[in-house]
Symmetry: C2
């Protein structure tokens, strides 16, 4: 326990759970690493950020700067995708301490003849490390000291910035302390942080009322979806659907003849998770769909739903992958007294778990081989968290650009744990956060707490599973505001397409479930329909593409606005150049007005400056001179999307 | 990376810096350990606190209870001094899960014949673990299930609390997760948390104006100090004082003949840190002083000041323990342009540092052998933090009851680091926190943040180094309130005795330094003097001894009180039984009044209850019925120390 290291390194950030998991960033982000450097006495301390770029085994170094109150930082540009490692080292810097003391003495008029000589051992160390003109500079300075002539010149050099530069360039790290952990940040492609999702069921994609849709029909929808400004098309499972215990329309316990069942009851005599439902088409059709999507700038996201129908081939081939009961039947899913006999959970703790896990991994790799790089994972919170950690890291070994969206609507700590172990994005509680208080509280948790380092929200106003009460009266105001806030608060957002666009809202009475849900039957939509909501979706998606402040989630500030029905938030682009101010009227029935306060501390602006405020929705411009400004919004057009221009 | 463990264990508390350091408690405290247990799915999870009592190698187990939102806890009684280790393990409990599901099915009227049989493998596991009547209970239940008769009886047992008790008593921990660190809590004697300090200079203890004080004079003061209710007597260094570069009265650069110098300039031809100043007496005198103190219920705290006068024997005997300059002189302490030539800092990074550190350790052990168990460490922040970690742990190996008080008036993170590495108590910024805002903010940091686990404040209204501005006009009000708040907010507090008692307040103009400071000369005090302040010190110290709410620091709540000059705080004893409410008028000139809010959420009381409020200072009693109550305080008696009695 004897040690001469004098600096303690504490509270290094970003850190996720003491370094057990990686922090997340996207390409070209600036990573700000901070640390407390604590030492005794009055000597000058110094520190480096140590880091390895992805794939490299070589440590690189970047000097830490003092921020305040013993907290230091360095900003690292993340120029490569992959995993960076980083840690911190720090030491008492004897050379800088010497110069610091000499400067104070010279300022106080104290002679420093002895101090100059005290420098010579430091100079010797330095001249071994320094190169080129730096080496020469040090050697010249040493000779000057040794000559004992030109004292004033020697003093001038001793306190000079040139000397400090050399001392900082070649630090002599005696008794350096190294932070006791190596932390990691995973740098992903930009779509991990900025994506616009559209979900639809291929079997409802037919324009012909006489037959259900196929992958080819789905393919023919892609052009329109791309035109609307989406960039990810998420398809519910396209695999064969179980026939045993199949559910009927509106989740009735047994299907009538011809009813297609739920796509999430995967597997039948036609195959399992690596097969395509014969009614939808073939693997070739699928590959063509993926190729067409790519041409249109779209990516196909596949559903990754790890459960089996009773007639899934796995059940016969690998009975040990399921839990068997004392009566010789397989355990089906239950929520007593409810029975889900069409769904057999996989038994992740089976003795044969290694083979099981490898097979499940092979499903993801199979589809990745077919060009899929985005998986929307169904109910990951009902499978072991460590399984996901393993699976995602294994997929990333071969396909580092794979994105996993966690569909875990469950308790907060479980949702967080799934994000920590590797999920790229996560569904959120946004779907049920309607009032200003709820939204501000939830966004503060997501964007200001420890979650911001690893949990990337993806906001959905609706899903096939959730027809939220706020949309159930079909009011255009609700559809508009829920869409607008999802798309402008969160850089990742999505809609369950045709149902949302067409403001479908009939529910099972008293429940947040759709009536005649597409989960249990094919539907026919008027895919050529147009309405004001669809036009607004297109406009907002287009604005998202050209305004970087909307392409990130974490720089958000809720502005004071003196009306509980009005919510206002200010967002900046990552480089700080673009300033967006969004204001929403949450009241579906009344015009609302109030004074909004500009967050001047976040702006290159002072009270009294003339700002030009341009509404990107209406193209109207306003001149604002004050910190507080009057706002008025009707339910008909219930939001402003202001871009703020600062006069130079 | 394959693992079938399904529970993640996160955020275990108490924890200091990820477990690098121990948390601190005192004997008979209850340690509340908490942890997040996070798992997939809907199975029942279960967990244990694992702990080792001091000196034992055997893990013991205590079940965790669910608190809320996936947070679990256990309360461990700390019955022994020393270091406890603790960690957490958790698992999916298949047996409890089985019973949980069976109970839900029975409640819903579902038949459980198959489920009963599903239990048999669990019963087999259990019967291997269970003993005595538990084993028999399980075997009887198994037989009942196997017989397939008396179905209703089997159901009754299946859902019974008796079965749950057995399942909880013999948990089958399959695929248990263990928290990846073992944490520590050091349990110390109660004086670590509750102590009342009195500081005085033995050389000023003489009642004879013709000579300076000795250890014998100091001994004769102990009775009075014990009567005043103090329990720790802290003496500034009693070692030989350097003669070279000795400082004179009022810190003048050179002493005149006969001036005694600063006790902190340690070492001369008469000896060093293991010697007694010949003017003070002998080691025998010292041992007698210690023995007399013990008889009076006092402990002597020694100053541990690791620096040397230029004529300290170490300088000649171990020149390598000091820093030598290029002109052949030893580096003295400096704060340019100031020079402290009477003080040579020790060179902790010397090549010979192992011998140096061992010698410094031997000083502490030398005095501990003489009966000293409390060290007040002078300026620990100018010596390496890791040195203190080593030294304190080495002393604790032989003298586990040793208390170290850190005299580090420096930046917050350094003060915190010293507390983390082992200092028992710490001086604080209390000396400069005067306004209500300052006090509330500072106490919130000390008692509600992470520091509460390791940083024990010791509040001093003054020290020989600090004559704070608030005391410099000598107002009785200031002395009374500063004393009262130190003694009632912090369970550890102390005064720099005669100077404080007698309201000495003359300062070097414009500085917080005493004029004619005892640091540089012997003083003569009227030790028999009495005044109102001394009477109040005696009363408050006596009240501290009988009121457990004042014997702890961390359960404190600042009450709303509608006057910026009035501060009110509510404290409870650790068992929750005693409730104390202190109110102070901070205004030295005016009567102040206002309404104070009782923190009912911290009390066994409801609005409208009749409370009897007794002022322990005046013995007056009041009846309060309301949440808000009127308070009025004059500057003459500027505080209430209320004990709250709740009627049953």
């Amino acid at each position: 326990m004897y040690t001469r290291n004098r600096v303690l390194i504490e509270r290094v950030t970003p850190i996720v759970d003491d370094g057990s998991y990686y922090a997340k960033r996207v390409i070209n982000d600036l990573l700000r690493v901070e640390a407390d450097l604590v030492s005794d006495g009055h000597d000058i301390i110094n520190g480096d950020l140590k880091f390895k770029v992805p794939g490299s085994k070589v440590w690189k170094y970047m000097p830490l700067q003092l921020h305040e109150n013993d907290r230091w930082y360095a900003n690292l540009e993340l120029k490569e995708e992959g995993t960076y490692e980083y840690t911190v080292e720090a030491w008492v810097d004897y050379a800088l301490t010497w110069q610091h003391n000499v400067r104070r003495k010279v300022e106080s008029g104290v002679e420093i003849k002895v101090e100059l000589k005290d420098f010579l051992p430091i100079a010797t160390q330095l001249s071994h490390k320094a190169k080129g003109k730096d080496k020469k500079w040090i050697e010249d300075f040493s000779r000057l000291i040794n000559s004992q002539k030109l004292y004033n010149k020697a003093v001038e050099l001793a306190i000079s910035d040139e000397l400090e530069l050399v001392l900082r360039k070649y630090p002599v790290k005696e008794y350096a302390t190294e932070y006791d952990r190596v932390l990691r940040v995973r740098v992903e492609r930009s779509k991990a942080e900025f994506s616009t999702w559209y979900e639809f069921f291929p079997r409802s994609a037919s324009k012909n009322k006489n037959r259900t849709g196929t992958l080819k029909d789905a393919e023919s929808q892609l052009k329109r979806i791309a035109d609307l400004g989406f960039d990810v098309v998420y398809l519910p499972p396209i695999h064969p659907i179980g026939e045993e215990f199949r559910k009927g329309k509106n989740n009735s316990p047994s299907a009538k003849k011809g009813e297609p069942g739920s796509p999430w009851a995967i597997g039948s005599k036609h195959g399992g998770h690596k097969s395509i439902h014969p009614d939808l088409g073939t693997i070739k059709d699928f590959e063509k769909l993926v190729a067409t999507a790519h041409k249109l700038g779209l990516e196909i996201a596949m559903d990754f739903a790890l459960q089996c129908a009773p007639d899934h081939p796995y059940v016969k081939e690998h009975p040990e992958w399921f839990k068997w009961r004392s009566d010789g039947t397989v355990q089906y899913a239950e929520n007593p007294p409810k029975k889900y006999q069409d769904i057999l959970p996989i038994y992740f703790e089976t003795k044969d778990y290694k083979n099981l896990w490898n097979e499940l991994l092979s499903i993801a790799l199979f589809w990745a081989d077919k060009g899929i790089r985005i998986f929307r994972v169904d109910n990951p919170h009902t499978k072991p968290i460590r399984f996901w950690q393993w699976l995602i890291s294994e997929v990333h070994k071969k396909y580092p650009d794979c994105i996993f969206l966690s569909e875990a609507f469950t308790k907060p700590k479980i949702m967080q744990a799934l994000a920590k172990v590797g999920f790229t994005q996560s569904y959120t509680y946004y779907t049920w956060r309607n009032t200003k208080y709820e939204l501000v509280e939830y966004l503060t948790e997501l964007t200001k707490g420890p979650e911001r380092e690893y949990f990337r929200p993806n906001f959905w106003p609706n899903t096939p599973d959730i027809n939220p009460f706020i949309l159930q009266d079909g009011s255009e105001h609700a559809f508009l505001t829920r869409l607008f806030m999802a798309a402008t608060i969160s850089s990742n957002y999505g809609i369950y397409g045709p149902v949302f666009e067409q403001m479908v809202h009939d529910s099972i009475p008293g429940k947040e479930e759709y009536l005649d849900s597409e989960k249990y039957e094919a539907r026919y939509w008027d895919w050529d329909k147009n309405n004001r909501l669809i036009a607004m979706i297109k406009l907002i998606n287009a604005l998202r593409k050209i305004h970087p402040a909307l392409q990130q989630t974490f720089d958000i500030h809720f502005c004071n606005i003196e009306n509980e029905q009005l919510i206002a938030y200010h967002k900046r682009s990552k480089n700080g150049d673009e300033h967006i101010l969004c204001i929403v009227n949450l009241d579906p029935y009344n015009k609302q007005s109030g004074m909004v306060q500009l967050p001047l501390h976040r702006m290159p602006s002072n009270p009294g400056d003339n700002l030009i405020i341009k509404d990107l929705i209406t193209d109207n411009s306003y001149n604002w001179h004050d910190e507080w400004n009057y706002i008025e919004l009707t339910p008909t057009l219930p939001f402003h999307l202001f871009k703020i221009h600062f006069k130079s």
